[in-house]
Symmetry: C2
Subunit: 348 residues, 2 copies
Amino acid sequence: MKNLVVIVLSVVLGTSLLFIRPSYAAGLAVKEIGSFYVGGESVNIDMSEEEAKKLNLIDSTGKVYSPNGTYETGQMYVNYVLLKKTKAKYPLMMWHGGGLCGSTYETTPDGRPGWQMFFLKAGHDVYISDSVERGRSGFSMSPYIFKTQPQARSKEEMWTLFRIGSEYNGPAGKPVAFPGTQFPLEYFDQFAKQGVPRWTDTDPLIYAAYLKYLDRMTTPSVVIAHSQGCKFAMQAAIDRPDKVKGVILLEPYTPLDIKKFDITRMKETPLLVIYGDFLPNYPAWVKWARSIKDTLTDPLIKAGGDVTWVDLPSVGIKGNGHELYLEKNSDVIAQFVQDWMTEHKLMK
Amino acid sequence: MKNLVVIVLSVVLGTSLLFIRPSYAAGLAVKEIGSFYVGGESVNIDMSEEEAKKLNLIDSTGKVYSPNGTYETGQMYVNYVLLKKTKAKYPLMMWHGGGLCGSTYETTPDGRPGWQMFFLKAGHDVYISDSVERGRSGFSMSPYIFKTQPQARSKEEMWTLFRIGSEYNGPAGKPVAFPGTQFPLEYFDQFAKQGVPRWTDTDPLIYAAYLKYLDRMTTPSVVIAHSQGCKFAMQAAIDRPDKVKGVILLEPYTPLDIKKFDITRMKETPLLVIYGDFLPNYPAWVKWARSIKDTLTDPLIKAGGDVTWVDLPSVGIKGNGHELYLEKNSDVIAQFVQDWMTEHKLMK
C-alpha cells in the first residue's frame, strides 16, 4: 500500500513536470533582454542669437531659441536578447539597411515572427542595432551639428528600388507589383511606417560606431547585414578579422574600396552573399551586384577565401525583392542562412 | 521487483525534471518577442524645384533634390515581450518621457537590468513604445510635413531639469550633483546618449497614436508613464476607461485640461503618482506637482477615485531625481510599484 502511494505520487510528479516542460521548450528560455549605447562623443554648441535666427531656430511659440550647450553625437543603440543556452558559437548581429532601423528584423509587416525570432529559436544570441542617426540612436541637430539635411525615402522609391514592382502610381493610381512577388503587398504601408529619414553623408560616423560596437563585445560575432549595412559589414570583416567570424550580406550595393581595404585579411571568414529575384527589372541592381563580384567576392575567391554567392532563383527560391528577409518566404531564406552557418561550422 | 523499478524510474524522472526546471525559472520563459507600428497616415508632397530650393533641400553633392512623393507620417513603434505564463492580469505598457524613447526602460545607463526586465521577471507581458517622431517611430521631414523644427535637450538642461544637480558647468568646469543623488553620475553621458530631438507641437499626433495603440490591444492594459508620457496616460485613462485598468505616473508635469476631460470616467481606475526628491531645488517642479494635485488627484479623490500619491522621501526612499526609474535604486522603486499593483488587484 505504501509502495503504491509512492508510485502514484512519483508518477504524478513526473507527469506533471513533463506537462510543464514542453510549454517552456516551445518558447524561448531567455537569460537577459537589454540594450546599450556605444560610440559617440560630446560636442559643444555656442552661437549668437543672430546666428540662431539665421538658422531659423524658432520654437512653437514663434520665438528664436538658443541651442547652446553640450550634446552627445554619433552614438549607436544596440538591443540584445541572450539565451539561457546557445547552439551557435558566436552572437549574431543584425545590421539594417538605409532608411530603416533595427525594427525591420523584428516582426514582419504582415505580423509573422521575423529573423530576430527565427535565429533566437535556432539558438543564437541576437543583437540588433540602429545605425547612427537612425531610430533609437537619435540624430543630431541640422545644420549646426550635422551639416546637411536628412532625406526621407518616398513610398514610390521604396516600391521600385526595392523591386516590389514596376511603378507605385500605376493605372488607376494603383501600384503595379511584379507577378509572383513574395512581398506581402497588402502590408506595404505597414512596411513604409518603418522608414526613417537618413543623412547621406554620415557613413564615416556610422562605420566608426560599428567598429566600437564590435570592439565592445567580449567575443567575436557573426554579422548579417542588409543593403547599406553590407558596406560596413564587409569593411569591418577586413578591419576586425578577430571580431567577425562570419558574414552574411543581403543585397549589398556599395562596391568595396579596394584601394583602402586589404581583402586578404578576411580570407578565413566565411562569406555568404544573397540576392533576390527581378534584378534585371531594375537594371542598376545588375550593375551593383556586378560591382560586388568585381571588388569583393572575385578577389576574395582568388585570395583563397570561403565565398558562397547565391542568386535565390537559382536555388529555386523565387519572387524576392530587396527586402527578402521580411517577405512572405522569410523563414525559407532564414533556414537557408541557418544551414549555411551549420555547414560553415558557426554552430556548436 | 517490478514495483521497485517503476518507483526508481518515476523518481529519477521526477527529480531530473525538477533539476531542469530551475534553470528556466532563473531566466525568462518567453513566448514571443516582436514589434508593430500603429497609427499614422499617408501624406503626399508635391512641390516645385523653386520651393525645394527655398527650403534649402540640398543633397550631399550640393544639388537641389525633390522630396515629392508619398510618405507615412504619425505612426508609433511598439516593441513587446510576451511571457509563456503571466502573473499579471493585464499587459504592462511603458510610455517614455520627452526627449527620450522606449530604450530608457531597458538596461540602465550603469548597465543593470532596467524596468523592462524587472517587470518581465515579476510576471508581466511588457510593451514599450517610442512615441510619434521619437526613436524607431521615425520622424517626418521638416518643414514640409512637420511644419516646425525639432529641438534637442542639452546635457546642461538634462542635468538641472532632471534634478541631478544644481549646475552642469560648475567650478573648474565640473558638474555639481546634489548630495545623496541616486543618479549614477559616472554614467551621465551614457544616459545623455539616449536623448532624441523632439518636436514641441506634436502632442495631438502622439496622443492619437496612443489611443490607436490601446484600441489595437485585444485586452485592457496597465500603463506606466514618465514625464511627458504622463499627459497622454492620464488623458487615455479618461478617454478609454475600458482599455486602461491601472495608471502609474512617474513625475508628471502637465496639468490635466479639466475643461476637456471628465475625470469621473477614470474613478474605477487605480492611480499611483510618484515624485522623487529635491523638488524644491528646482522650484518649477513644486509648482508642476501642485498642478497635478489641483487638476488630477484632488478632483479624482473628491469623485471617489482610488489615488495613491507618493513623494518618495516620505516613504524613506531618498535621493531620486526625475529619472527615478533608472537611477541606482531603480529596483527598490520598481518593487514599490509592483507591491502597489498587487495591493490593487492588478495581479492574478
